[in-house]
Subunit: 481 residues, 2 copies
Amino acid sequence: MQHSYRQIAEQLNQLIRTHQYQIGERLPSVRTFANQHHVSVSTVLRCYRYLESLGMIEARAKSGMYVADWTVRHSSILGEKSAQKIPSEMRVIEFDKLRSLQHRMTELYSLTDQPLELRLHLASAAPEWYPTKEMSKIAQTILRQCPEMLGEYPTGTGLAALKEQLVHWLATFSLDVQTSELLITNGSTEALSVALRAVAQAGDAIVVESPVYFGLLQVIENLGMKAIAVPCIEDQGMSMEALEYVLEHQTGLKAIVVMPNFQNPLGCTMPDKNKKHLLRLAEQYDLAVIEDDVFADLSPHYERPRPMKAWDKHGRVIYCGSCSKSMAPGFKVGWVAGGRHHAKIASLKLSHSLVTPLFEQAVLAEFMQTGALHAHLRKLRERLAANIPAATVALQTYFPLGTRLVSSAGGWWVWIALPQQIDALVLLRRAVAMGLSFTPGSLFSNSEKFSHYLRLNIAQPWGSDMESGMKLLGELVRELA
Amino acid sequence: MQHSYRQIAEQLNQLIRTHQYQIGERLPSVRTFANQHHVSVSTVLRCYRYLESLGMIEARAKSGMYVADWTVRHSSILGEKSAQKIPSEMRVIEFDKLRSLQHRMTELYSLTDQPLELRLHLASAAPEWYPTKEMSKIAQTILRQCPEMLGEYPTGTGLAALKEQLVHWLATFSLDVQTSELLITNGSTEALSVALRAVAQAGDAIVVESPVYFGLLQVIENLGMKAIAVPCIEDQGMSMEALEYVLEHQTGLKAIVVMPNFQNPLGCTMPDKNKKHLLRLAEQYDLAVIEDDVFADLSPHYERPRPMKAWDKHGRVIYCGSCSKSMAPGFKVGWVAGGRHHAKIASLKLSHSLVTPLFEQAVLAEFMQTGALHAHLRKLRERLAANIPAATVALQTYFPLGTRLVSSAGGWWVWIALPQQIDALVLLRRAVAMGLSFTPGSLFSNSEKFSHYLRLNIAQPWGSDMESGMKLLGELVRELA
């Protein structure tokens, strides 16, 4: 069989990562190994060479192959001084748990701990594409001038200076919000979570898009609520016809959670008339609307699309935003404009995690005040968009017929439909063994509807590693096709 | 009436803070005001002088008294450059809401936005008592060396380097925890919240101490659970006899939440035999134990008391800690060792707020690695203890007979029983009008049992302001007695 060296490599990799082969242990000689596995010597050689390239094993002169100290990561938070090890608790990925509503996000995150060459399973962009040096300078200045802030116990609903900057920023795309209805949270996920708790309780039903960001499904599951999936039209988001049907027939509904701009994973933007339509329906059925707008600043449109809340006259829309995609992924600072639900949301946020630390907020406020955000976002959007042609060509070149690029999501990720018979979870298992990760489609739904889809992050400089990654993935798809 | 100038000042203060007198508006002349309120000119003069000392009003030469720009705060996070204003949304305290289970913490926190001279309502120590300069230096070094970390999207369950430091630290007081069962959270309040959600759901009953930290009562209320209050013995914490009775008679119990060391507000430590006893009972009734250990590092005992989890052989205790009291109040970094509930807790934390930012974790890890924590804590404990004699004397001097100092909580705060007929909430209303805040006892219980108690923070350098604050409060108590 053509690719059996990869299958052997996958098995051996698993044995090493589960410590059945210890670090520093000698591996069988090529000949012994070949006999044990009934394969050719050249297959074993290719297998060993491949694992060597992954840093899992290493050759020692005149002595053979040994298991390398594959747990050492070279990029360390604290620099050379205390090189960070992959924690000894690193778990082997339980691929089947990726389907579980309670564990899909947990399992996906643990992919990040694996020794992979290409990590394309998260919706994150290259760190060097963010203004980290400017932010770091601002942060150092603040620390030098006000070290005592580290000793102050924060209270309130967020740093006033950041809220003021946000109010100005939101106004640039027609969102008229007062500082008094803004609450700073630990990222937009906390914003979503408290918003859901403010308008619904265990047992209630929540309308979501399909496909939809898997994190939302896990939040809803963990709150004991029920997600009602309304299909999306690929280039315009939630189908209004399907939504009307659901509203008419589904009982126990309390809210609609929606990403009208730059939907994850479709990357599409809802036409303004649909935004208004959805709002009218929410009014008619007396439902809360929770709007997740975290990607909209990166939307490839010339003009930043308006959030649904821009048309909200009755405080019905709970608007959630974040700096994690647009400004500083490491900060995890989010915000929520809760409309009529503000007081309840503020109480829930406080009782869940008190006040979000002020340091990051101070850095963001100062960065926004310099006026650098517009220019940074323009550059980031250009960089993202520049990858689209390369990714499109790579897909056409390496993937089998029957593969369809549904969306290139402004160059942030690609959302791909594989030939129908392929289970992207099976593909992921093989890809991870070969050092590459992505997000399988089944995570984006409670059904099996998207099991032959995948989301692949492309938001990093396109080089030979991306090219060979796409090639490898294409080959794995062909094997399964 | 002797103190009527204060009552008039209180009313006028209220009118200014609710913008019924605008900033810059001229106040009535002393004579006009005296006639309007049927008081003497000297009373009005004293009232104006008092409000002037609070910065609420100001005299202008030959023109009279005007409402000052009382919203400007002089201490700003961002330094002189963008002097922070008190947000325009500053709410007038709704004192009655302080009794509400859903709002007590929210309302108490909004006291911090008031123009007060002495804020003694939180359990926080003076910022200058923390090693903020050392931390700030470490933080600047990290930012200089690794600015790119601000651009990296964090994953995982916390920074490995911090977890390793914590494991070493916990071991110094007999707590044997692996990094694999540690999860870093947004403060210990998030730890408590996810711990509760991991072991119970809406409708379930949770055993808590009485009196107890009000934040816990709000968390439980907001999760739709029911707090069952078990009385404490003042110098040893939860009564074992009462607990046994409750366990025998109460249905729907899922967990016991307890602060065995340095209980808030009692400041007491549970004897080791009671810790073991409680554990045995939890075993017998198959309940989870959630241990809040945030103050124990500040305990005045020569040897740091052991947490209950030190005796836990079956992973039944969920242990929650934090840097907010001991190391860096501004960081809001907490941790939880979840025992057998770890996986569920990790899933809930992730789905609530993803991953806690790594920057603060890196700073803490580096600070702990320098070995400076022991010395810092010893100094902090000494500083705290040094205030106890002054506070005790002040209470004896200024407060009426029938006042009892229940606990001086290692110098962190005092827990005081006032004469029985005094409602501390009424006292608070008057005290706030005079520029001083504290925590009224009714917040520490769902019943009215502690309505004549109060908790008063004393964890700051004892100077003339503390002395005159205690004097003022003593006078207000006498008025009500």
